[in-house]
């Protein structure tokens, strides 16, 4: 068995940690722990990006690693924490499907995306190609999280974590996107969270709760 260079092993390790954190977010009941997990996911992402940059000599990836670190580990969790404090929503939130079932669906999704990624990664020549399956699995799991959650804040965290997955997919398939695109996405995500924060207040003012099932009704008084 040929042994990969150390940095490739580390990338694989961080990819596995990302997948693990995605599952942890899927299972997590409390909003505050969910934000901590999101920050941890950002940290793992930044670390793996920095290692890819170090291992392949792609220096622009250092910038995206730094950007990820600042944005996803410090800024976004801080904004979300502040939102939760202002909205005063620390309760255990309910979900549409129970945890073990969600986990089983998650495993099926992981198998699906691993299968999907195998032919793609055989064509790729990057050292990180085998992690593409994990990146796709992270995106799928974030989708699942958004679908199974009923409250607004977990859905937004699911959306952000999906962005993490996409970013990781870009790093593992093509050593990252051009700097302009990355900056644009980072700004989009930041502005998106700010706007969604305003939305939260509007939703709560209208319905006295952040449960999105209220938004399914189109008319009042039904």
């Amino acid at each position: 068995m040929n042994v990969l260079p150390l940095y490739a092993q580390l990338i694989n390790l961080f990819a596995a940690i990302l997948l693990l954190l995605s599952f942890a977010m899927l299972a997590q009941r409390r909003v505050l722990s969910l934000i901590d997990l999101f920050a941890a996911q950002g940290l793992a992402l930044a670390a793996s990006t920095a290692i890819v940059a170090f291992g392949t000599g792609q220096h622009h990836l250092y910038w995206s690693a730094g950007l990820t670190l600042v944005l996803k580990v410090f800024l976004l969790p801080w904004i979300l924490y502040r939102l939760i404090r202002q909205l005063d929503v620390k309760w255990d939130f309910e979900r549409l499907i129970n945890v073990p079932t969600t986990m089983l669906i998650g495993i099926v999704l992981v198998v699906f995306s691993f299968n999907l990624a195998v032919p793609i990664s055989q064509l790729a020549s990057t050292v990180t190609r085998s992690t593409l399956g994990i990146a796709m699995a992270c995106v799928m799991l974030s989708f699942l999280m958004m679908i199974t959650r009923r409250k607004a804040i977990p859905q937004v965290i699911g959306f952000l974590s999906m962005e993490n997955g996409l970013f990781f997919a870009a790093t593992s398939a093509t050593y990252g996107m051009p700097m302009v695109v990355e900056l644009g996405i980072a700004l989009d995500v930041l502005v998106g969270v700010l706007i969604l924060g305003v939305f939260f207040f509007q939703i709560r003012e209208q319905f006295d709760s952040l449960d999105l099932k209220h938004l399914e009704k189109l008319k009042e008084g039904e």
Partner: protein
């Protein structure tokens, strides 16, 4: 099979029997320190076992022979398991007889017998404990098997000594799959050994008991054997964990007595550290409701499956 191999097998079994109560005492002591209580003596489990052996056994009048037989079966199963798990050396004549799947079967045999014995007397708490034990067991077993399969996939064999041989002498590489499997194994061991997130070994409230509720009716030598067997079970699980995830220091073959002699302090050191970590986990976590157990063990199963998938995808 040589005489030296048999001798190393005997040494290992004797060491397991001798060290198992010490491990329990050490974990209890660490737990007491961590929760700021004055600690019970380290040798208390030995004294308890001796005290219990000297007492006269009392058996319920409606007990069937199964009830008397069970402590011996459970103790025997745990001794067999201790003979299979490589803790000191990898050249074990007994291990040829059973691989990891049979090992899981041995644990299952002990569980079935102890659950039957608990139901045999017909007390409410006994059958309550037995049902809960089987409930936890049927969830923990597939996860344990998945963990062992992951290790088998990496080393290409289901026999524990050859898994340890392969893992201990590979080139040093990071195995994310083994890390996942390690976390899953920790969770399964907590559940199987009636430790805190699933069961509380020190509880006096019958309604929350799982393992303790099953052995309420036992006394004297029967109870001593059961206590010793559960200490052995903890020891066995620790040794499986060490063998799979930290196999360094286990002697190759049985000829090299210096290596085996060196393996003893290494094993004791690893067990002391493991016992401390166990006590730490137990101190920082709270006991779950019994119906949270499927979630806990489902997560363990998930992690074990993920370990296998990650191994297949990343090849590491």
């Amino acid at each position: 099979m040589t005489a030296t191999a048999l001798l190393s097998q005997a040494v290992q079994l004797a060491l397991a029997l001798a060290l198992a109560p010490l491990l329990v005492g050490w974990v209890n002591q660490c737990r007491a320190w961590l929760s700021n209580r004055s600690a019970p003596p380290l040798l208390l489990p030995y004294r308890t076992i001796r005290k219990l052996f000297m007492k006269d056994a009392v058996v319920a009048s409606n007990a069937s022979p199964l009830f008397r037989l069970t402590p011996y079966v459970v103790f025997g199963a745990m001794c067999c398991a201790a003979a299979i798990v490589p803790s000191l050396a990898t050249d074990l004549p007994f291990a040829l007889a059973a691989d990891t799947i049979a090992l899981v079967g041995l644990f299952a045999l002990a569980r079935v017998f102890i659950a039957l014995a608990a139901m045999d007397i017909g007390t409410a708490f006994g059958s309550l404990g037995a049902r809960r034990e089987m409930f936890v067991g049927f969830l923990a077993e597939p996860a344990l098997l998945m963990v062992l399969f992951t290790a088998s996939l990496i080393s290409g064999s289901t026999s524990l000594p050859s898994i340890v041989d392969t893992l201990a002498h590979r080139e040093l590489a990071i195995y994310p799959s083994l890390a996942f499997a390690g976390v899953a194994f920790t969770m399964v061991s907590l559940a199987e050994n009636a430790r805190i997130p699933v069961d509380n070994p020190a509880t006096h409230l019958e309604l929350t008991m799982i393992h303790e509720a099953m052995v309420l009716e036992y006394s004297a030598r029967h109870l001593a054997l059961i206590e010793w067997a559960s200490a052995l079970k903890l020891f066995n699980y620790s040794c499986i964990g060490l063998a799979l995830f930290f196999p360094f220091g286990i002697a190759q073959g049985s000829e090299n007595w210096a290596a085996i002699a060196l393996a003893v302090p290494v094993l004791v050191g690893k067990l002391a550290l493991g016992g401390f970590l166990l006590a730490l986990i137990e101190t920082v976590s709270a006991k779950m409701r019994i119906f949270r157990a499927p979630e806990f063990l489902g997560t363990a199963f998930l992690l074990a499956v993920l370990a296998m998938l990650v191994h297949l995808l990343l090849g590491s």
